[in-house]
Amino acid sequence: MTARRALTRALTLTALAVSAAVVGPAATADIPGQTPYPAQKVQELFAAAQTATTDGALNDYFAPGSTVLFRAYAVDGKTHKVLAAKDVKYFYVTIPNQPNVKLEYDPKAKGATALLPWTGTWAVPGNYPGGLVDFKVFVKTITKRHGVYVQFPVPSSQLTITANPPAVLSPAPSAPTAAPINGTVDVSLYVDTVNGTRPAAAAPRPIGCTQTNVFKRGEQLVVRAWGADMATSDVLSSENVSSATASITGQPDVTLNWGAHGGTSKVYYWTGAWNIPSDYPLGQLNIHVVYKTDAGKTGTQDYPVVIIP
């Protein structure tokens, strides 16, 4: 009886592990030759996270001894509800050879936004080895639904510890982004920005495609995004999206294109580049990202960035 119970428990855990959050994409890709990020489908929970400095500047290069702020959010695949504190059993970050970082719910916490209200910090030990940090974010609801977040597999935009990180531009965006209406979404989105490698009217940064939400005039801002139709769990791709745009005040809409990215192992997600005019107004602006699906659903997100001289 004990052995049978143990077997049942093992099978249950295995089933949970397999069903948690994402389904492996390689063998079941709906579009031949394409591997959507992070998977073909998002199952129980949609989970997304960012790394930033403690003042909220999006950043992925940190020196030993500095502090990494993680901020995250998740959406229930069944209720389509954005998870708040009362919905969650745990929400934490795992970091190789480090204690887990527990994420707390507080949209007003420093570095948090209304859309990414779960935050936690990691003080990088002075002797932490340099290189990519393969962190993961795990979330579980009180209804026993699971989610996991993994980084875009693009090395320059992944959390990296180095003795000589590129300078972080400032100031970080200050105003929080708007929360989803009624706390539920039909289409879940994740949006961030990286510096483009081909700025038209500014010097290239030391490392291209690093995460940042502060840009100089003349630089190239690249919007990256992925998402899921919460009714079907399908990750948004060129197969189920009719249009994807990023609207920027005073500029033509930037079309977000579905394409391959990364090194040797390519994954597919959405990107669009905006060459910031040399005379673009300084200060903070919200990039308004809109997805329209073939099924008639709409997903939006306002993503704040700061333009500096």
Partner: protein
Amino acid sequence: MKQIGMGLGLAVALAATLLAPAGAATKPKKVPFTATYSGTAVVQVTDQVAAITANGNGKGTMLGTSTITGKGSADASQQPCAPFTGPGTMTAANGTKLAFTVVSGSQGCGDEQGQVFSLSGKANVTSGAGPLKKAKGLLKFTGVYDRGQGTFSVKFTGTLAV
């Protein structure tokens, strides 16, 4: 009384048949269509105009195992997404055929290395043969072209009036 009623019904049915507009009896049927193909593609770029030739094998609704051929041209000056258009044909061994034209707005978006292109767009079905002789419709397609390998794969989905 019953005989009069039946007679009236037959007369109405006959009149309805005779008065019906030509072709009403053969109203096109809408069928969901899916097809996937993979094969090789050659792209020759001259003065920023890319001439495309593609040949592949795969399967499609009402086609079964079949081949695809396509020719087109792309504007290689536009990066990272090059728009392209051109005609193509899906053909089964039994002669069933579907001819289409890739319409404006279709594009191939390259990766950072300009080697792997994500294909997306629409194909307007213009004619056919066999069971697809009267096929019409606008199909969505999405796929991949690997420039280094010279290979492509593509998936068509949509609804056809047949």
